[in-house]
Point group: C2
Chain length 949, copies 2
C-alpha cells in the first residue's frame, strides 16, 4: 500500500463512528445494522427504538475489530473519546456514575458477532466494582450478600477472561473454583449461596491474591482500566482457538469480526420482586403459537440455566408479577409483528421493573420451522415465498419418515442400550429382529416378522431382502454406498458404514468393537436413520402422518395436522418452482409412491435392477455365459417378456408421465456370483462345468470396473442386448396404449463420451421402434437421449446433441471421473479431505460446482446451441440435495430427478431456488408469486426485482 | 431442398466443365487440379503440359462422380456432348477413329481418385474392339495374334467389370478363367501365349456365349455403348465393398469421388521394338539417387508384374532402344526438377515411340524418405522445411532401432519359423534365449546370455529383468501397457499383447494357440518390435549406426552415413521447432541416453520406479506396513539416503538441465506382494505374522485403484512421505551443487484436482527446502508445480496456477478420466471402437483432441490468465506421438516430454508443427527458416504466409 493511500485511510478512519448508543427509548443503530453492530447490538438497538425497556448501553462496532487486528491490536485515538461520551450518556440515563463510590454504575461487556456464536467468545459482568464502589452497591441495594456475591463473581470472571488466570492443563482445576471449593469445605456448606457475607468477602481477597501470586498482576481497581481491559479481551477472544474452530465449521469469515456491547447491569437477584427469564415467542419444539418460557424470581440469568432451582413456566409470572407479565406479553406481540418471526428473548426484572436484555430469531426444530412458517402466512405476518425461504428442505424429512416414540428412545438411552453410531444414510426410525442375509429377511418377513437386515455391505443380490426389511444396517460403505442409495430410493431406514460393528456371518452374531453387546440373529434392534444411532431392543415406531395419508392411506387428511402443513408447503412450492421434479424408480410401487409425493415423471429407471428380480437373474446369467451371439439371443428372448412386463407396470403407475429408461449399464460381472459355492450352484443350474463359470467370472474381472466395459460399450459390442431392451420398452408401450393409458418413454443411453457411440445405439433403438410400430400397427412417441456422465460427454455436448433429444446428467459418475475419485474407494481419503476443507462438502452429496458444475454448465450451453429445445435433467443422487437442486435451477435444467422420498425436498428446494434468484414474480411485484398477503398493489414487478439483493 | 434451389443447382450444373482434355502437347488440366481430376488425370495433364509424350485422352472429373451419386446414378445431359467432343479430339490427335472398321481407335478407361487407391477400383483396356474393328486392328498391326489376344482380354475384362460376370462364391473359379483353362487343356499348352490365333478367336466367342448364357446379355458390339458402360462401371466401383473398406482404413472421405480417365491405347506388345516398363526416379528402398526400374520388350504392363518373363534392369534399355532410353532419362530429370520429388513412372514404347502413361510421387521406405529428403536439399531441389515435411517422424525409428539381418529373417519366414504376431509395442529387433521371470533374466544376462523376457504381463517388480533382457514379449496388455511403456522408456524391443501365446510358468514353456510350436526356457526366439513378429530361432541383429555413434560410441560418425542423415535432420529440426523436448527418465543411464538424443531436460522422473531398486523395496514395504506415523518415519529414514543417491545420479547426468520429479503416485498396494508365498516371505523378512501382511494387502485393495488412494492423496494423508522425498531431492541438489554442477529441480505433485491439495503439498516442499538451505547454508532454485491429469485439475487451472509454477499434462490419466476409460481394461472394447471409427485413433496413442484436448486448451488459457509465465509441458506417453506433439505446439505448450528413444521423433514432429502453422518464418518469406535454397528474394514474409494453405 502506498504511503498516500495509508494516510487517506487513516484520515478516513478518524471520521468513522465506532460507537453506537442505545437507551432512553432510542438508539443510533437498528436491526438492519447487524453487520456493523453484531446480532446482539443490532437487536438491542432495535428493541430500544421500538420503545422497549432496554438497559442503556452502547456498541463498539465490528469495524473497530477489523481495525484492531489490522493495527497490531491497537485502537484508533478517536475511540477513547467516543466511549467516554457514550458512557456519560449511560450514566445520565441510568442515574448512576461509573466508579462513583456512592452510586456506582456497573456494566456488562459482551461480544456480539454478525452470526450467533454461542459461548465461543468472552463476557464480563458486574464491571465497575472495586473496594470502594462495593460500598455504594451495598448501600444502594441494602443487600451486602448480593453485593459481595457480585463482586467475587466479577473478580473471578475478570481474572479469567481479561487477566488470563486459567487452568494450566486439560485436567487442571480452575484456580478460582479451587479456592471456592476450599472455602465451601472450610465453611462446611454445600452450595455457593450458603456462604456467608464474610466468606464471600474473603473470597474476593483470596481471588485477588491468587492473581497477584500467579500472574504478578495487581487486580485493577480503576473502573476505567477494568473497562478497557474487558473490551480488549472481548476483541481478543474473536481469535481464540474455540472461536476459530467454530467459525471454520460454520463458514463464518474471519474478516467479519465481533462487536462489543457495553450495557448497564440490571439485577434479577437484587430482591424478591426481581427475577429473570428466557422465552420463545412460540414453542420451538412443536411450533405451536404459544408463549413458551421459564423464569425464576430473585435469580440471575445463569441460575435459570444452572438447574439448582427449578424455573417456573412463564404463565406463572402472571400471578407473581402481573404488571411485568402484561408488559412481556405486549412485547412478545410487538416483537413478532415487527420481526415477523419467532423470537428467543431474555429479560430481567429488577425491583418490579422489566428490562429486555436480548432478542433474536429463535432456533427451532424442523417441525416447528414448518409449522411456524405456514401459520405465519395464515396470520398474514409473512408471504408464502418468505415462508418457503425459512424452511430448510431437509426439514421436510421430519414429516415423512417413520419416527420413534421419543420417550421410549430416551429411556433406552438412559438404560445404556445405545450400542453405537453409523452414518445417517436413510432417515427415519426402524425396529425389528436382526437377520444377516437377504433370504432370511424375505423369509422372516413373509412370516410376519419385522426385520432389520444387517450386512457388512450390500450388493444388488440383496435387493429383495432390503425390500422386505424395515431397515438396513451396514458396517461398511458411505452415504452413497449401495445400501444407502437403494435404501433412500426405497424409502427404507438405513444406517450405513457403522465401522465399529463386528459382524460374523458364520455364527450369525454381531458385536460392537470395545463394548459388551452381543447381538444374535432374531434379537431386536432399533436404528435411527436420521441420526445414525443403533440401539439394542425394541423401540416402538410409527409412520409419519404424511405417509399414513399419502401412501398407506390409513389416515384421513382431516385428522392429520402435519399433513396439512406438508400439503400447504408443497402447494406453495409448486407455485414458485420452475424446475420439474422427477424420480428415480425401477419398480411400479416405487413409482406410485413417487407420484404420491408429486413426481412428474421418472428421470431414471435402471433396467439392471430388474434383472435381479424373480426368474430374471437366470436368463441374465445365461446370456453372459453364452459363447455366441445366438446363445445370447436365446437367453435374451427369455428376458424379453419379463422386462416388458416390468415396463408395463411402470408405465401404468406413471400414467402418461414421461419415463426415462436407461439401457443396461453395469459391468456384466456384477450379475455373476463371485464365491465358489455360488459359482458351483450356477454351473449346476446351467448344466455346465463350474470351471467355465469361474473362467468367465475371471475373464470379466477388471482392474477399474467403474471405467471399464460397461454402459453403452456393452450395447455397442452386444447390440442384441439393446435390441431386446428397446423391444421390451416399445412392446410394453403398445400394450399400455392399447389399455387406454398414455405412455411417454424416453430411452437413455448411458456412459456416452462420443456422439458416434450414441448414434450407434440410437439407430438400433429407432430401428426396433419402427419394427414394433409396423408389427403392431400402433404408432407411439418416444425420445432417445443420453446420460452425460463422463467429462468427454459434457465437453462434446454440441456434437452429442445432434443425436440426443435429451441429456440427463449422471452426476454420480461425472463426479467420479471429473474428480478422479472412485466413490467406492473414497472412504480412505475423502472424509479427511472434507475435514480439512479441501472440499467444503462431500462432492458425492452436493455437486462440486467449480469442477463438475463447470462441465454441466458447458454441456447445457453447448447442447442448447445445437438443439435449442433439448430437454435437460439430472438423475444423479445430487438431484435430491438442496444446494445441488439450486445449482440445477441456476444453470437452466428442465428437471431434477431423485429418489421417491426426496421428491418433496427437491420440490421445495426448486421453489427456493426460483425465489432466491427472483426468477418468479407476481402481479403485485413481490418476489415470487404473491398470494395476496403482501400489501403492495402496484404492478411494478420489475421495479421490485431491481430493489432486492 | 426447395424447388427453386433445385432448378438453380441444375442450371449451374449445366455450365460446369466435366471433361478435361489432354494430348498433343497441352492439357486443360494440371498437377494442382488433383481434387478435380484425380491423381492420375492431373499428372497425365501435367506431363502433357511439360511436353512429354502422353497418349491423348480426357478426364471426367470427380465432380461428375458426386453428381452421379447425388442423382440416382445418372449423368447431366451436357456430359454426353462433352465426351463426344473430347473423343473427336483424341481421334484427330491419334489419327484413328473410335469404331472405325479400318483404323479403329482403342481406349482404356481407368479410375483415378484424389488419393491413390491401388487396385481398389476397376479398369477396362482395349475398349472399342468388336467383330468389325478387330479386322482393322489386325490390318493395322499386321499381327492377328496380338489383335485377338487383345480382343479376348477386352471381352473378359468388360464381362467381369462392366457386365458383372464374376465368380459366384468365395471358392468359385472365375468363369472366364475356367474357359481359358479348358482351352489350354484342350490345346495341350501350358501358357496363354502358346495358344494359337484360332484358339484365341474361339475364346472370344466362348466368352461372349458365357455372358449371354449366364447373364442373358448380348455383349455390346457398339463401341459407344461399350464406352458408357465402362464409364458407369468405374464410377460405380467407387462404392464397391473393397473401395469402401480401403477408404475407411485410409481416412479417405466418400465425398471426394473418383475421376475417370479415357485414354487412347498404346501397345507395348505390338512388336519387338515395342515394350513397357516401370521406374522410380530414385531407389525407393535405399533412397539412392539412381534411376531404378525394369522393362520388358514386346510386352504389356501386366507382364512386367506377372513374373512370367523376368524384366530387365532399366539400364539395359540403353542397348535395346537408345533413343527411348535417352528420352526417358531426360524425362526423369525434368520430372524430378519439376515435381521436386522422387517419382514413380510408367511408360510404354510402341514401335520405337516412347509414351508416358503415369507419373506420381513414389512410395518409399522410411530410410529412403530420409535420404531423399536430405539429398534433395543438398541438390537445392527443396528447402530444409520442405524436407522435414516429407518425412514422417516415425520413419526416424529406422535410424534408431536395432535391426535384423534382412536375408536371415526372410529365410526364417520361408522356413515357417514365424510363430505369431503381437503388438509392435517397442520398435526394433531383438533375439535371445527365452526366460520366464525377471530374476532369471537378470541371472542369465549376468552370465553373458542374451535373453528375451517372456511374461503373461509385466509389473513394476519385473523392471530389473526387463532392463537385463534384449527384449520383452507379453501375452496381455496394449500399446500403453506396463511392458510397452517401460520398454519404450528403456529403448527396449517389445512385442506386447500377443494373445495367441499360451505361457505356462510352471513348466517354463510356451505354446502358440492352434500351432505346433513348443518353446522351452533357454530356446532362442527373435522378436521384431517394429512389426510385432515373433520368430523361432536366432536371427542376427545389430544396433543402428546412430546408436553405435551416439550411445555405444563404437562407431565414428564419419563411417556412419545414416548417422549423417540423422544429424542433418535433427539440425534442421532444431532450426524450426518452438517446442522444447524433454524426456521421461528415472535412471541416470536413461537420462544420459536421452541427452545424447537431444533431450533438454527431464519432464517426468517417476520416483516410485526407484523404490523397486536394490535395497529399496524393503524399507518401502516397511513403511507401508507401519501402523504409526513414527513407524513410517523410521522406514522413510532408511529410504532417504537411497532416494538422495538416485537423484544425485540423475542431476549429474542432466548437468543443469531442468529435472521434473514427481512425488509418489501409485497406490501403495502396488508395492506389496499379492501372492501367498510372496507375502509369507515378506512377513519373514519383516518379522511379523503373514496374516498381517495379508490383512494389509487386503485393506489396501481398491475397487478402482486408478481413481483411488494415490497421487497427492497419499502425500496429504501421509505428509511424512512428501517430506522425505522433498528432502532427498534438495539434499541431492545441494550435494551436486557442491560438486560444481548446476541443478534445476522441479517438484511435481501428481493427481491434483483442487488447488488446496497442491497448496497442502507445496507448503511441505517449501518448508523442507528452507530447512535444507538453512542446514547446509547453500541456497538453490527450484519450482513447485503439478500434473494436470484429472479433469477437475484442468477445469480449475486458473485457481491451481495461483500455486503451481508449472503444469505438466499427464495425458495418460487425463485420457482415462476424461473418456471414462480404464487403460488396463480397455482391451475389451477400445480396439473395436477404433475399428468402427468411434475413435479414429486409439486415444491412448494419439491425444483425443476434441475431448482431452479441450481440457488441455482450457487449462493452458486459464493457467496463463493467472500466471502469465507459467511453464507448460506434457509428460504423458502422447508427448512422443507426432500428431499429439503438433497439438501441443498449437495450444502453446513450452515443451513435450517423452521416452528417450522418442526424443528425436518428438524433435522432428515439433519442427513440422512449427513449419505447418507458419509460426517460423525467414527473411526471404519462405515458410520456416530458409537456408537459401529458395530463390525468392523479397522479404514479404506476411504475403507468403497468406498464400499458403
Amino acid at each position: 500500500m502506498g504511503d498516500k493511500k495509508k494516510k487517506a485511510d487513516k484520515a478516513k478512519k478518524a471520521d468513522v463512528q465506532y460507537v453506537y448508543y442505545f437507551g432512553g427509548g432510542k438508539a443510533e443503530g437498528s436491526a438492519d445494522m447487524k453487520n456493523l453492530l453484531g446480532g446482539k447490538g443490532a437487536n438491542l438497538a432495535e428493541m430500544c427504538n421500538l420503545g422497549m425497556p432496554v438497559p442503556s448501553g452502547f456498541t463498539i462496532t465490528t469495524e473497530l475489530c477489523t481495525y484492531y487486528y489490522a493495527n497490531n491490536r491497537s485502537y484508533p485515538p478517536s475511540l477513547y473519546k467516543e466511549v467516554k461520551k457514550a458512557l456519560q450518556k449511560v450514566e445520565v440515563d441510568m442515574g448512576a456514575t461509573f466508579g462513583d463510590p456512592k452510586n456506582p454504575l456497573l456494566v456488562s461487556v459482551r461480544s456480539g458477532a454478525r452470526a450467533s456464536m454461542p459461548g465461543m467468545m468472552d463476557t464480563v459482568l458486574n464491571l465497575g466494582l472495586n473496594d470502594t464502589t462495593i460500598q455504594g452497591l451495598i448501600e444502594k441495594s441494602g443487600n451486602p450478600r448480593f453485593a459481595y456475591d457480585s463482586y467475587r463473581r466479577f473478580v473471578a470472571m475478570y481474572g479469567d477472561v481479561v487477566l488470563g488466570l486459567k487452568p494450566e492443563g486439560k485436567d487442571d482445576i480452575d484456580p478460582f473454583e479451587e479456592i471456592l471449593e476450599k472455602k465451601k469445605h472450610d465453611n462446611k456448606v454445600e452450595f455457593d449461596n450458603q456462604l456467608s457475607v464474610e466468606a464471600l468477602q474473603e473470597l474476593v481477597k483470596e481471588f485477588k491474591n491468587a492473581i497477584k501470586e500467579k500472574l504478578n498482576i495487581d487486580f485493577p481497581e480503576d473502573p476505567e482500566e477494568q473497562l478497557w481491559g474487558a473490551i480488549g479481551a472481548v476483541f481478543g477472544s474473536w481469535n481464540n482457538a474455540r472461536a476459530n474452530v467454530y467459525r471454520k465449521l460454520n463458514n463464518i469469515p474471519e474478516s467479519w469480526g465481533t462487536a462489543v456491547n457495553i450495557q448497564s447491569m440490571v439485577f434479577g437477584n437484587l430482591s424478591d420482586d426481581s427475577g429473570t427469564g428466557v422465552a420463545f415467542t412460540r414453542d420451538a419444539a412443536t411450533g405451536e403459537n404459544y408463549f413458551y418460557g421459564e423464569f425464576l424470581m430473585n435469580a440471575q440469568g445463569e441460575d435459570v440455566v444452572a438447574g439448582i432451582r427449578t424455573p417456573l413456566p412463564i404463565d406463572e409470572l402472571k400471578a407473581k408479577d402481573p404488571n411485568s407479565f402484561e408488559k412481556l406479553m405486549k412485547i412478545r406481540e410487538k416483537l413478532e409483528s415487527h420481526y415477523r418471526d419467532m423470537l428467543d428473548i431474555e429479560f430481567t426484572i429488577q425491583e418490579g421493573k422489566l428490562y429486555m436484555l436480548q432478542c433474536r430469531v429463535g432456533k427451532r426444530t424442523g417441525l416447528a420451522a414448518l409449522r411456524i412458517a405456514t401459520e405465519m402466512v395464515t396470520e398474514k405476518l409473512i408471504t408464502p415465498d418468505e415462508a418457503l425461504m425459512r424452511i430448510e428442505p431437509e426439514q421436510l424429512n421430519q414429516l415423512l419418515r417413520p419416527i420413534f416414540d421419543l420417550k421410549e428412545k430416551a429411556e433406552a438411552i438412559k438404560n445404556k442400550r445405545n450400542m453405537t453410531k453409523g452414518l445417517n444414510a436413510g432417515p427415519g426410525a426402524a425396529c425389528g429382529k436382526v437377520v444377516f442375509n437377504a433370504e432370511d429377511a424375505v423369509e422372516w418377513a413373509s412370516k410376519g416378522d419385522k426385520v432389520i437386515l444387517v450386512r457388512i455391505e450390500t450388493s444388488p443380490e440383496d435387493i429383495s431382502g432390503m425390500n422386505a426389511a424395515e431397515g438396513i444396517l451396514t458396517a461398511r460403505g458411505g452415504m452413497t454406498s449401495h445400501a444407502a442409495l437403494v435404501a433412500r430410493q426405497m424409502g427404507k431406514v438405513c444406517v450405513a458404514g457403522c465401522g465399529s460393528l463386528l459382524i460374523d456371518y458364520k455364527s450369525r452374531t454381531m458385536k460392537v468393537d470395545g463394548k459388551e453387546f452381543l447381538v444374535k440373529e432374531g434379537d431386536f434392534i432399533s436404528i435411527d436413520g436420521s441420526t445414525g444411532e443403533v440401539i439394542l431392543g425394541e423401540i416402538p415406531t410409527r409412520p409419519s402422518e404424511v405417509i399414513q395419508v399419502l401412501l398407506d392411506k390409513t389416515l384421513d387428511e382431516s385428522e392429520a395436522p402435519t399433513y396439512q402443513i406438508y400439503k400447504q408447503i408443497m402447494q406453495w412450492a409448486n407455485d414458485y418452482r420452475k424446475l420439474k421434479v422427477r424420480t428415480n424408480a425401477d419398480q411400479p410401487d416405487q413409482a406410485a409412491n413417487a407420484v404420491a409425493f408429486g413426481a412428474e415423471g421418472i428421470g431414471l429407471c435402471r433396467t439392471e435392477h430388474m434383472f435381479f428380480g424373480e426368474g430374471k437373474i437366470g436368463p441374465m446369467r445365461e446370456m453372459i455365459l453364452a459363447d455366441t451371439v445366438e446363445g445370447r439371443k436365446l437367453a435374451l428372448a427369455k428376458l424379453l417378456p419379463l422386462q416388458r412386463e416390468d415396463f408395463e407396470g411402470i408405465f401404468k403407475a406413471m400414467d402418461g408421465r414421461p419415463v426415462t429408461i436407461r439401457t443396461i449399464d453395469p459391468p456384466l460381472h456384477e450379475f455373476l456370483p463371485h464365491d465358489g459355492p455360488g459359482q458351483s450352484e450356477l454351473a449346476k443350474q446351467m448344466k455346465i462345468k463350474p470351471e467355465k463359470v469361474k473362467a468367465r467370472v475371471e475373464a470379466l474381472h477388471e482392474f477399474n470396473p467403474m471405467i471399464g466395459f460397461r454402459g453403452c460399450r456393452l450395447g455397442i459390442l452386444y447390440p442384441e442386448i439393446t435390441e431386446m431392451q428397446a423391444r421390451a420398452i416399445f412392446e410394453a408401450t403398445v400394450n399400455v396404449l392399447k389399455s387406454g393409458q398414455k405412455v411417454m418413454p424416453e430411452i437413455m443411453i448411458p456412459l456416452v463420451g462420443h456422439v458416434k457411440e450414441l448414434k450407434n445405439q440410437e439407430e438400433i433403438v429407432r430401428k426396433v421402434a419402427s419394427q414394433v410400430m409396423e408389427e403392431t400397427g400402433i404408432s407411439f412417441e418416444y425420445l432417445v437421449g443420453t446420460m452425460i456422465e463422463i467429462p468427454r460427454g459434457a465437453i462434446t455436448a454440441a456434437q452429442i446433441a445432434e443425436v440426443a433429444e435429451f441429456f440427463s446428467f449422471g452426476t454420480n459418475d461425472l463426479t467420479q471421473t471429473t474428480l478422479g475419485v472412485s466413490r467406492d474407494d473414497s472412504g480412505r481419503f475423502l472424509p479427511d479431505y472434507v475435514a480439512r476443507e479441501i472440499y467444503s462438502k462431500d462432492p458425492f452429496e452436493a455437486i462440486d460446482q467449480d469442477g463438475v458444475g463447470f462441465l454441466m454448465k458447458h454441456a447445457v450451453e453447448q447442447g442448447r446451441l445445437t438443439r435449442k429445445k433439448i430437454k435437460l435433467g439430472i438423475c444423479g443422487e445430487h438431484g435430491g440435495e438442496p444446494t445441488s437442486v439450486e445449482f440445477c435451477h441456476r444453470i437452466g435444467l428442465n428437471y431434477v430427478s431423485c429418489s421417491p422420498f426426496r421428491v418433496p425436498i427437491a420440490r421445495l428446494a426448486a421453489a427456493r431456488a426460483a425465489i432466491r434468484d427472483g426468477s418468479t414474480s407476481s402481479a403485485c411485484g413481490c418476489k415470487g408469486k404473491c398470494t395476496g398477503a403482501c400489501k403492495k398493489k402496484k404492478k411494478d414487478g420489475k421495479k421490485h426485482k431491481k430493489g432486492k439483493k
